[in-house]
Subunit: 339 residues, 2 copies
DNA sequence: CTGAAAGCGCTTACAG
DNA sequence: CTGAAAGCGCTTACAG
């Protein structure tokens, strides 16, 4: 049953129309002039026969592979699972398959994309570089293949889908300010592009809440637990240490929580911690971490749609999409100072 | 440059051989009789011209899509990231792409596989069902399409790759016994197939270490944090409560840790906790959790290789592969009783 | 033994 | 306006 492949010829035979016409009807060819009635008949036959176009034949003819590659960094950020999920959904809906490369590859290969491209199996790329950001992006640009940056940024022209980092961080700061915090630390990057956007949100948030910016509270740290630990040590060693910390992801937050524990600072009694990104890990930390929620699956979803537009040459949307936060998920790591 | 697709005809022209012969050389056709010298020439030309076979044309001709689908449950178990990663790697090496379905789909669709299959784009399935295990497996079986169960089991005949649950759990029990624990709890499933394998390991481990089995310490619980909390409450409420707990995954372990905290039981001073699976989450829990390490990427890798064998009809390997644990990763959640 | 030719299932330029 | 025919890049049964 599954072996009886129905082809376009079967549909043609069943309806007395030429295969070419069926194809045209299928693809809504505007140059086709045929009675609506005929179109209806063909459409009905397609459903009845259970005809599904063969993507290989289509791809061969159109010189398209029908698959996309997503290059992701080592999954140090749990955010990627949600992003990949959204991307997969969009790809499936649009008839593309997706190949995920680079996950946890030891030492990211800046030529990974080139290697995949030359394998003849991919029409375009979703790119989320990891450590070697600059080199990777340069390599992608050199390829000249359709590509969309996912949660990464090169310049305004290069297609990208990113989060509204600034708006999210402002929500976080406002939450902390409402709890009475006045001295807030920032653990993240002051150099990477997305880091500076978060830092901008941090500063604007403080200003908006009438709080003073203390540069000693801003720490440029690595995006892993060790980075969080180092950063937390730095700000918590200060005599007038912050009473709250913004962490740029869950790993950094986990590091901060660990240091707080070591220093005997109860969370949130003596120190509040809030994290960028919401996700399953936030709930597993101790205490569970308040975080900024974004529809991360949407990020992947929109990126794929944008990429497919690029590939098919449809009217391009804007070169950039920004995903707004949906709010905060308030858990046990933030509260008023009580000690 | 990327547009100048090199085809088999180019190779043929460059070497003065027919395209058919090039194809035969490429695929090591044993019926082909040609001088080794010619083969060498062709092979060299392939490299020089940078010829890469077009998988679409190949697929069209062979009636194969060149892609696989992996059906995964909602990613409640962090184990899946590693499994997917290994599967992707194998798929890429073998020239297949992979499509991941079902991640976090609301209410898993038992017909998801059928839907994907009818989309004409997949040669076979990697199956890791979630909640509706029985129904999903039945649906897959009905499909009749090549499929391999990943970390799931139906019967000895149906192709599967699973972990050596028993050996792993025995390692865990021995570790606890060596720390002096005599009363050990089991939080997992006593019904699901894999659960019973772990339970068997638990029992054998106790026997091997000369420990007595106390049935009250065995709790059938859900595989999420809430399940872990419920299970931990059940065993820790006992007057002669266990001094150590085996948890069937990290979420269950997280639940157990949370209950221990609520009850004022220090870990590992008053209670040790050990978890199945090692992974990034283990290190983020408080305290970081000792766990049983398996090469999970290998699980995905082997499953893809097995599936491709099934598809191509190559000499089938055994219907089942069992992946052995690589050992324990000892962290802060296990230790001798000190309180 | 080996090379030419058919055909996989589509799409679309082109002839009628 | 519309249908027949060519061709995308492979593989392999088949004729020579």
């Amino acid at each position: 049953m599954a072996d009886k492949r129905v082809t376009i010829a079967d549909v043609a035979k069943a309806t007395g129309v030429s295969p070419g016409a069926v194809s045209r009807i299928l693809n809504n060819d505007p140059t086709l002039n045929v009675r609506d009635e005929t179109k209806e008949t063909v459409r009905r036959a397609i459903v009845e026969l259970g005809y599904v176009p063969n993507p290989q034949a289509r791809g061969l003819r159109l010189a398209r592979s029908g698959s996309l590659a997503m290059i992701v960094p080592e999954i140090n950020s749990p955010a990627f699972v949600a992003i990949i999920q959204g991307a997969q959904r969009a790809a499936f809906e649009l008839g593309y398959s997706m190949l995920i490369g680079g996950i946890g590859e030891e030492g990211e290969d800046p030529n990974l994309a080139a290697r995949i491209l030359s394998s003849n199996r991919v029409d375009g790329f979703l790119i989320s570089t990891g450590k070697q950001e600059a080199r990777q992006l340069a390599a992608v640009q050199r390829l000249g293949a359709p590509a969309v940056l996912v949660n990464r940024y090169l310049n305004e022209q290069f297609p990208h889908v990113i989060l509204d980092d600034e708006a999210g961080v402002m929500l976080a700061i406002r939450h902390l300010a409402e709890l009475g915090h006045e001295r807030i630390g920032f653990l993240g990057s002051t150099r990477r592009f997305l880091g500076t956007r978060r830092l901008a949100g941090f500063k604007r948030g403080l200003t908006q809440c009438g709080l003073r910016l203390d540069k000693r509270f801003i720490v440029n740290c690595g995006y892993d637990r060790e980075g969080g630990e180092a950063g937390a040590h730095a700000v918590l060693a200060l005599a007038d240490r912050p009473t709250a910390i913004f962490a740029t992801n869950h790993l950094v937050a986990a590091g901060a929580l660990r240091v707080a524990r070591q220093l005997g600072l109860s969370v949130p009694g003596a120190l509040s911690v809030i994290s960028f990104y919401d996700g399953p890990v936030a709930d597993l930390l101790t205490p569970a971490v308040t975080s900024i929620a974004y529809p991360l699956d949407q990020l992947g979803y929109d990126a794929v749609r944008m990429l497919v537009r690029l590939i098919t040459g449809e009217t391009p949307t804007a070169a950039g999409i920004t995903i707004r936060p949906t709010g905060l998920v308030i858990r046990q790591s933030t509260g008023p100072i009580s000690e």
